[in-house]
Amino acid sequence: MKADSILERLLERGEFVVTSEISPPKSADGTKVREKVRILRGYADAFNVTDNQTAIVRMSSLAASLFCIQEGVEPIMQMTCRDRNRLAMQSDLIGASALGIRNLLCITGDHQRFGNQPQSRNVFDLDSTQQLMVFKRMRDEGELWCGDVMETAPKILLGAAANPFVDPIEMSVIRLSKKIKAGADFVQTQAIFDLDRFQEWYSVIRSRGLEKKTHIIAGVTPLRSYKAAKFMAENIPGMSIPEEVLKRMASAPDEKLEGTKICLERIEVLRDTPGIHGIHLMPINWESVVPEIMERAELLPRPSP
């Protein structure tokens, strides 16, 4: 075992895993995070803790991940390349591992122009592929990138993000293949609304046998309203919501019900797709729907770790 996290154990055992997401608050009050975590405890195997999501400053993912651990929930700490150079990245990984964080998602990060500090500089000392290379060396060889030996190596399961909706598809697949070579033990995808396009992407993934070299966890997001769907489609980089889905949301008498239904339909298809090892349920500002979706998708109770 690389990290002996719950996520790793379940993936190795061949379970269909469920990960979800917690976004830390714009607040220095830890009880806020604890409350969020308590509501979601038991409804997923591990929870991504976002890192200044959409470039909006919030409580650090490291601190919020620690609150998760204290509440008995397994975190997947996210770390963007936007906000840290390689010094900060390596020291944060060492610190995270020492605090008991066992999963980490390496991501590029949305451009700061989307957030609340558009005048800031971005770092991008490393890109997410290089970040994976550095972290893999730290874990497997017990060395920092410069070659210095660490007394104790971090225990960490490394994840990467993939967006099946990036153009061109071939480029998106090559990029993922590089991330896998660089060290991605698991991959979480962008929320899938457009199943046709996802299948197109996935068939290229399979033609290269990539689904056998990592654990692909497919992203899904429940839409709360037509307005929310429209907002996401227009404002979240890399998000792709097809016209047909928007139409369904627009004409639904009960938008929440329709949004949940659309999400459940996708879960059903993805669950039956060979090589997909789980779903990543991103509730984007609608955490309270997670229990219902998990219930109705018959994904409860979660397997014991």
Partner: protein
């Protein structure tokens, strides 16, 4: 093909710096791109400096090509400053001069008399020109009238695009001759971020995604195989991060 560079080969990587001089007798192929500062900012700099005799120093090289600080722009700015002065009774006396290359000391030395007779020196050269002018007259303050942005090339009429950020470690042979450091909003070296859609960058629909351009170019060359190469963490010590760079060429001047 996939090159996964090990640490050993990483340390042995050989760095070559290319330095090209802008030849003023030929049309500039690439240039330093800058934009004139907004008039109110220029006025407030001049007022803060104080004095009534103002000299605008332009440059006939890059900033002339990008229509920011050449002879024409110098004269236009002088007119606008005179207008302002008249309407506010400032009594400013504006004189102008446009040098062949403000970044070369010989040219700057040639205007010693003019400099002596002015209170305020306003440079319409690039950041380099303004600094060299200031070095030639170290006792004087030189106001920067240009916001220097980048190294780039013209693209159609009145439009210039950044092409290079002088990272000191060029790898564009791997990306179809298109620089991802200068042209991707996130300087990504191993492929596009999740925000690349429809050929456009997530930052703005008026920016092309560099990785779409790279993909198209490599496809045209029949070299999509190059995309599979993993570029290891870059050596940014060759870039500005390593401190100001000095390039010495083995010529008389360099010795």
């Amino acid at each position: 093909m996939c090159v996964y560079k090990t640490r050993a080969s990483l340390h042995k990587r050989y760095i070559v710096l290319y330095v090209e001089y802008i030849n003023p007798t030929k049309e500039c192929r690439y240039l330093i791109i800058g934009e004139q500062k907004p008039l109110p900012e220029i006025i407030s700099m001049i007022e803060h400096e104080g004095g009534t005799k103002i000299l605008i120093v332009g440059c006939r090289s890059c900033v002339a090509v990008c229509l920011a600080g050449g002879e024409e722009e110098v004269l236009q700015l002088a007119d606008r400053l005179r207008e302002y002065s008249n309407s506010t009774s400032k009594g400013w006396e504006i004189s102008t001069v446009t040098l062949q290359r403000q970044c070369e000391k010989e040219f700057d030395r040639g205007i010693a008399k003019l400099i002596e007779n002015t209170d305020v020196i306003l440079s319409l050269g690039c950041g380099v020109g303004a600094q060299v002018l200031g070095e030639v007259y170290p006792e004087r303050i030189v106001l920067p009238g240009i916001n220097t942005s980048s190294m780039g090339a013209p693209e159609g009429r009145g439009k210039w695009k950044e092409r290079c950020v002088g990272c000191g470690d060029c790898t564009i042979q791997l990306s179809g001759g298109i620089c991802p450091i200068a042209r991707c909003s996130k300087m990504l070296q191993n492929g596009p971020c999740g925000g690349s859609q429809g050929g456009k960058c997530e930052v703005s629909p008026d920016r092309d995604c560099a990785w779409q351009l790279i993909y198209d170019r490599l496809r045209l060359k029949g070299r999509l195989d190059l995309l599979e190469i993993i570029l290891p963490p870059k050596d940014w010590s060759k870039a500005r991060d390593g401190g100001p760079r000095i390039v010495i060429k083995n010529t008389e001047a360099g010795r």
